[in-house]
Symmetry: C2
Subunit: 249 residues, 2 copies
């Protein structure tokens, strides 16, 4: 929302004052480059949630955070609104803001949507020529990350990211900005599940090989087959994830 001279000083009503940080959060606020303070705060919280530092169902107290980040409650609430909009947190009336915990019904709903949209995107490729470069790159990144994550405590999050990139790249073939936005939201919500389900590494690894198969079917022009493969992929993934998620509570 800001285009001009980036955020210079811009401190409305005074009362600022550079003190030391309370909980070690404030240092993250140092880096500049955000359009508004609220978006900046939202970005910090978003990242911390995605990294699993704030687990689902955890309450995010206004007072602590606003003091910790040295922003007003109003600004923090604005950030909460942004995050609630994208489904990362949820409001509970009279209780505050919590890191969203997806229900099993949510997971089912999300996969139901994916099973409608994603195979349709593949089928819709008929008669068109598309550039599969992004998809291929995602597949290869996924395989490379799978090998690299073989170690004990490796960076398996790269694997998850690559896997998600594969599905986003496929969606982008439909060439619709709104469809891209949709899948971005859907996969962002599913990421919340990934961090609860314990053995996420194994989850992504299992399906990493199927990515390549779908890609090759599309390259071979077997679109119906590829779409069916995607349907099966999603059905298996849902069953698998629901089961892990249920046991993990």
């Amino acid at each position: 929302m800001h285009s001009g001279t980036d955020n210079s000083t811009g401190n409305g009503a005074g009362s600022g004052g550079a003190g030391s940080d309370i909980e070690g959060w404030a240092e993250e606020l140092a880096r500049a480059g955000w359009s508004s303070k609220a978006e900046h705060v939202a970005a910090i919280l978003r990242r911390r949630i995605a990294e699993g530092k704030h687990r689902p169902d955890r309450r995010l107290p206004e007072d602590t955070i606003s003091k910790g980040l040295k922003v007003s409650r109003n600004t923090l609430r604005e950030a909460f609104r942004l995050l609630a909009h994208e489904g990362a947190v949820e409001h509970r009336h009279g209780q505050g803001v919590f890191v969203r915990r997806l229900t099993v019904a949510d997971v089912v709903d999300l996969y139901r949507l994916r099973r409608v949209v994603q195979p349709a995107v593949i089928r819709d490729l008929k008669g068109r020529t598309v550039d599969l470069g992004q998809v291929r790159a995602a597949v290869e990144a996924s395989e490379a990350a799978g090998l690299a994550a073989a170690g004990p405590e490796s960076d398996w999050s790269a694997l998850g990211t690559a896997n998600i990139r594969f599905h986003l790249a496929l969606t982008e073939l439909a060439d619709s900005r709104r469809l891209d936005d949709l899948m971005n939201r859907v996969l962002a919500e599913l990421r919340l599940v990934f961090y609860v389900a314990t053995d996420v590494r194994e989850f992504h690894m299992t399906y990493s090989t199927r990515n390549r198969r779908i890609l090759e079917l599309i390259e071979a022009g077997a679109l119906a087959k590829a779409a069916n493969e995607m349907t099966a992929y999603l059905r298996d993934a849902e069953r698998d994830l629901v089961q892990r998620y249920s046991t993990a509570l």
Copy 2:
């Protein structure tokens, strides 16, 4: 966002006081039943935009509206955020909030999405038994409205509403809340186009008969045929709408 005992009195800082309306807006605020003032204000503006009282590209000045509706600037801005989120208005930095004007590219994007999603919903019905009552009701309402709107200056907006209901009811068969939300947003955006394209009545009338055909194909179990019909429907509708919209500038 409100769950409890609906909105009783709930007036935060005083200064209210029942005065007379300035521009005739305030009377619309009288009816109760809204979770928050911001949502109430958003609903008023949304309806006025949908009815064409605020044409695309028209600026919505904060000062005038907030005084006219007797709400604070902050509350109005919150309402603007809600409307911007759903695509009804847009922010232009330093200039304010404007009724959104869709580009032809937007229309193309929206129909591209619909052509992916809507036929897929129909194809996904295979092997399931669904209740087509809502769909049938929408078709019949559409036909009834078509007859009623035969007069000179009749209420053709009922026809448009029924037509939109048809597509929403079809989407609901997929049984995914998020898919319903998506189609609601998509059709709400398209409504902005309908009010610029002049002969909307004719537009909806033409396609009203095709609704019944799609319904009957689904009832007959000819899902592939119905899905193809939907694809053709959307392709024709897009071409038609883009042409009207281009000439109407």
